[in-house]
Amino acid sequence: MKWLNFRISTLLLLTCPSFVSLKADDSLYQERVVKYHSFWNKLVPRHYKLQFAGSMGLLSFGPGWEYGKHHQWETDVYIGFLPKHSTSENKLTLTLKQNYIPWTNKPLGKHFAIDPLTVSLYVNSILGDEFWTKEPSKYPGGYYGFSTRVRFNLSMGQRFIYFIPNERRKYSKSMTFFYELGTSDLYVASAFNNRYLKLKDIIHLSLGLKVQVF
């Protein structure tokens, strides 16, 4: 009996903690799965945009995210199409765009709202054989001193939002039309230090649509 008692108590001693810890592991695991889900959930694009012009292609399309207390920050990723025109090939472009909207969704009637100002900074890259990020090694160091592939752009604009009534929502809760006036780094460099180029020569218009999924 003594021996048996010993066996049972040892077994209990051995199994109980492991049982407890197993249970703890399980809940931690569940917790981790929840965290994992919520992390990737945050990365689910909240909206999609289609933009015409804007020094990032003829037409660009891509997902985006908004964040901040009043959703005043936005990050967009675009893939754009640039027709060849006089050059030798059609090109794709990639764009990473950061937007700041100081006043969001100012009401304009029952179903409409306006973002009176948007400010955007975006970096664009042209994918093509004739474009380089770093000067090819055939050139003496700092020969041209700039990258033909990477462009920095700045723009300002406004947005008009239409909130789709609850009963009519299918895939999105609102649609936004926006326009922007912007310029690109090489245009600024061109206009710098001369009178010939005016602001109107380097500022360009672009138009876009935003579909807010949730």
């Binding site: 015409f52 012009a53 804007g54 020094s55 990032m56 292609g57 003829l58 640039l82 027709p83 060849k84 025109h85 006089s86 050059t87 030798s88 472009t93 304009l108 009637g109 306006i114 664009n124 042209i126 093509g128 004739e130 474009f131 055939k138 050139y139 003496p140 020969y143 041209y144 700039f146 033909t148 462009r151 406004q158 326009y179 006036l181 690109s184 090489l186 245009y187 460099a189 061109s190 001369n194 009178r195 010939y196 180029l197 602001l199 109107k200 020569d201 500022i203 360009h204 218009l205 672009s206």
Partner: protein, 267 residues
């Protein structure tokens, strides 16, 4: 709705204040005149035909110096003794499409015809195709009076071996089409032999090749952003280079029946 009405004038002002849409600085979207060199070469040939004395101005490297280029145009337009203007290349700095158009529009104000050579900066980011569209083939020639101007693309560093730079076949064909042994020849290029752009492996062969041409007067180049006058190969063939336009000077050459005169004009 009052809000919308108030916004409308601002919107209209915004939309009209910019030159519409831009797809990319490198969109290759050419608006306005194209084939400038072809048209102007024909004008030069017509204006100078059968004349013994020809006077032409040379500028180059006007990239991003819009005001200086415009000043040059104004000053040259006051003269009545120039037959044409030769631009030695680097009309753009970044190879950006609009650079070619802005400079073309400035040079189009010239009262006399002009031609533009391809510079190394013009080759960047698909610029060589835009150049070809706006101005024409980077290798071209025209005749002013009795003198044949052979304009060459010598920016070898911007190409690989699939494109012969300088193109000896093109040069050869120019020799074949020469009509009379009395004719004279001038070669023009952006980068001269032994510069960082030239295919220096063939520098001597190039020189030997162009020396075959009847009455080779001299060669013109640009690229170095300074005025130069050198007998590069010690064979008596002079290479004259114009400075960048920001240095505010241009060259004037007067070709006589025999010999020529060369001067630097500052403005």
């Amino acid at each position: 709705m009052i809000g919308t009405r108030k916004l409308l004038p601002f919107l209209l002002l915004f939309f009209t204040s910019c030159s519409a849409f831009d797809y990319s600085p490198y969109d290759g979207l050419v608006k306005g005149e194209v084939g400038v060199n072809n048209k102007n070469s024909a004008l030069i040939e017509r204006n100078c035909s059968k004349r013994d004395t020809i006077r032409f101005a040379v500028i180059s490297d006007t990239q991003r110096w819009y005001d200086d280029t415009q000043d040059f145009v104004r000053i040259l337009n006051k003269r009545n003794d120039i037959d044409f203007v030769l631009h030695g290349g680097d009309i753009s700095d970044f190879g950006v499409t609009k650079e070619f158009l802005w400079q073309r529009d400035i040079l189009n104000e010239l009262k006399v015809p002009y031609v533009v050579l391809l510079g190394n900066h013009d080759c960047l980011g698909g610029g060589k195709e835009v150049f070809t569209k706006v101005f024409g083939n980077p290798n071209f020639s025209f005749k002013a009076g009795h003198t044949k101007f052979i304009c060459l693309n010598t920016n070898a560093l911007e190409y690989d071996y699939s494109n012969p730079i300088p193109d000896f076949n093109f040069i050869d064909n120019q020799l074949d089409s020469l009509a009379s042994p009395d004719d004279k020849t001038i070669f023009a290029m952006h980068a001269r032999p032994y510069s960082d752009q030239f295919n220096n492996n063939v520098a001597k062969i190039f020189q030997k090749d162009i020396c075959r041409f009847p009455n080779l007067q001299f060669c013109l180049s640009a690229h170095d952003h300074q005025i130069e006058a050198d007998d590069l190969f010690g064979d008596g063939v002079m290479y004259y280079a114009s400075a960048n336009i920001a240095k505010r000077s241009y060259l004037v050459f007067t070709l006589y029946k025999k010999g020529y005169k060369y001067e630097v004009v500052e403005f």
